[in-house]
Every structure is written in C-alpha cells, then in structure tokens.
C-alpha cells in the first residue's frame, strides 16, 4: 500500500504588492499632514537625472526648501554631486542590491533627513524602467526622464513606467538632430499609456525647458500644501 503523504494547504490569495501599497498610502498621508511634497524621479541609467536635478534645484532653491535622496545600488557619487552642485541637503540611500525602492526604504530615507527642513523632497530612484514602476514609494507624484538617445518608442516598450508617471521629461533635446527621435510620436505614445501625463521637453546641459519643469514643481508643491 502506498502511503499518501498528507499535504495541508493554506489559502493566501494575496498580491505581494498589497503590503507595500498600504505602506505607501500611509506614508503619503503623513507627508500631507506635514506639508512635505515627495517627488519620485525615475529613468534609465544615464538619462540625466542628476544633471536635471542640479539645474532645477538651482532655479528653485530660493523659493522652496529642497532636499534630495539619491537611491543607488552602490556608491555615493550622485549624492556628492547634488551637494556640491546645489548646496541643498542630499543623502545617499543604498538598496542593498535591489533594483528599486519601496515605501519602507523611502520612509527610512525620509527619517534621515533633517526634520521639518524641506517643502520638497526629491527621490532619485534607481536607474531602471521596470522595477521602480511596480513599487509605490509613497511619493505624491511620479516623474520620469526619457532621454533622446533612448528613442521615442520607449513608452511602447515599458508601458507600466509610463502609465504610473504624472510627468515625463524628455531630456537631451539638443541632440535631437542626430537621432531618429520623433517628439510628436513620443507624446502620442506617452498619452496612449497615460492620457493625463504632462510632457516637458528639456535639455539639462543647456538649461532649455528646465524653467517649465521648475514651474510644474512649484505648482504641485503649492497645491499639495493647500
């Protein structure tokens, strides 16, 4: 006679994102109470996140109190660059090998900033178009940078990233003539994924369009505080 091993099954039926989504909502609630606007900035590696931030912060630092959290797998080069380039508080978060930040890691980062010293906190997420889109960090708004050399078809290839973003910055527009990049097509693809997303073309190197991004931030921070 064969012995039938008894297997007990415990039904779970729970999304593994459920806990993180709950943490993220709780964090957003606390940020609202404290009047702190958290922006989650995402992109591929090398799209110009840090350069864009330095330009933008220098335009805004007299009007807003700003702090930056740089998330990377390793090193503190970005946090140092922000600190040296703008003078605002900048801390480095290490994800310990992970390709994204979640709400709990974001909270730990916020706890390490000087309390009550910022109206606008910018989280520079790990350079990656897949994983950061899946994990809600608790940020008030999501923005992403798509740079011209990456191609205008990225919204088709990374649908989730573009559907979670409230703002898409198209960076490195100064090199557009050298690439087969169609700005109108790019806008169309972004809006296929998210009809409500704003699109702002910029060049972080020359500063073109950065004022429009700064205005967007000012409005969003104002709106959040009221």
């Amino acid at each position: 006679m064969t012995k039938i091993e008894e297997v007990k099954v415990i039904e779970i039926k729970k999304s593994i994102f459920a806990d993180n989504n709950k943490d993220a909502d709780a964090l957003r609630g606390e940020l609202k109470d404290r009047g702190v606007f958290l922006l989650n900035l995402m992109s591929s590696p090398g799209s110009g996140k840090t350069t864009t931030l330095i330009r933008t912060i220098n335009l805004l630092k007299d009007r807003l109190r700003i702090a930056v959290m740089e998330a990377d797998i390793d090193s503190d080069v970005d946090a140092v660059k922000i600190k040296e380039g703008t003078g605002v508080e900048s801390i480095q978060l290490h994800t310990g090998g992970m390709c994204h930040l979640d709400a709990e890691m974001t909270r730990q980062g916020l706890d390490n900033l000087a309390p009550g010293a910022a109206d606008l906190v910018i989280l520079e997420n790990v350079g990656n178009l897949v994983c950061p889109a899946e994990f809600d960090t608790g940020a008030v708004k999501n923005a992403m940078i798509l740079s011209v050399p990456e191609g205008h078809d990225k919204p088709l290839k990374y649908p989730l990233m573009f559907s979670v973003c409230d703002l898409v910055l198209i960076n490195k527009i100064d090199v557009m003539p050298y690439f087969d990049f169609d700005l109108d097509k790019c806008r169309e693809y972004v809006h296929m994924r998210n009809p409500k997303a704003s699109v702002i073309p910029i060049c972080a190197r020359t500063g073109e369009g950065v004022e429009a991004f700064a205005q967007w931030l000012l409005q969003e921070v104002e709106h959040w505080k009221n």
Binding site: V7, V9, I10, I12, K13, K14, I16, F17, C99, C131
Partner: protein, 113 residues
C-alpha cells in the same frame, strides 16, 4: 535582480502566514503569476532556491508557479481577446480603447505545509 526583490516580499508574506497558522515548516509556495506581470518565472524560481537556503522555515521548499493568461477587454465592442497575441489594439474592431482584464497578477495563491 527584480525577481530577487519579489522573492524577498514573498518570503516576508509567507513568514507572516506561517506564524498566523502556527506552521513549523513550509514544503511549497504556490504563486499566481500573470503572463504580462513582467516576472520571468525561471528567474523567480532560481532566486527562490538561493534565498530559501537562508530561511529555516522554508529550507528545501519549492516555488510552484501558475501562469495566469493575460486577457484584454475592449470598451468599444465589449469583447475580450488574448493580450499577448494582439497587444493594445482590439483584433475584433480595431479600437485601442482597451484595458487589461487579467494577467498582471503577482500573488501568493497558497502555501503547502
């Protein structure tokens, strides 16, 4: 690396469930993974094998994966179709007023103890 992060989340949830049900050892965890969830099942099971060597509760346990086929619904004609085959555009009427009905799941279905 993406899958490794997901594995850590699964382990956390399984530990919580094990504590609730007073379970000493887990033999298998069954996942529902949507076809368009961006998870690569092979990577997920590879990461699982590595990660469970560090968890007495889960040592030697298997990660079993149910693939949930992706289905898209079309608002224009009201019909449904296979997402992976046809993408965003409805093959019945050509509309792109469509949305994913299922296929994005990353959930723990059950644990076997």
């Amino acid at each position: 690396m993406h899958e490794l992060g997901i594995v850590f989340y699964i382990i956390k949830d399984v530990k919580t469930a094990a504590l609730e049900h007073d379970v000493q050892h887990v033999n298998a965890v069954v996942m529902n993974i949507g076809e368009v969830s961006t998870i690569v099942p092979d990577y997920l099971t590879d990461c699982w094998r590595w990660a469970v060597t560090k968890e007495p509760l889960l040592e030697g346990s298997e990660l079993l994966i149910n693939i949930i086929p992706a289905v898209t619904h079309c608002d224009a004609c009201g019909r449904e179709y296979e997402t992976v085959r046809y993408g965003k555009k409805c093959p019945h009427c050509g509309s792109d007023q469509t949305w994913l009905l299922k296929g994005n799941e990353v959930e723990i279905k059950e644990i076997q103890v």
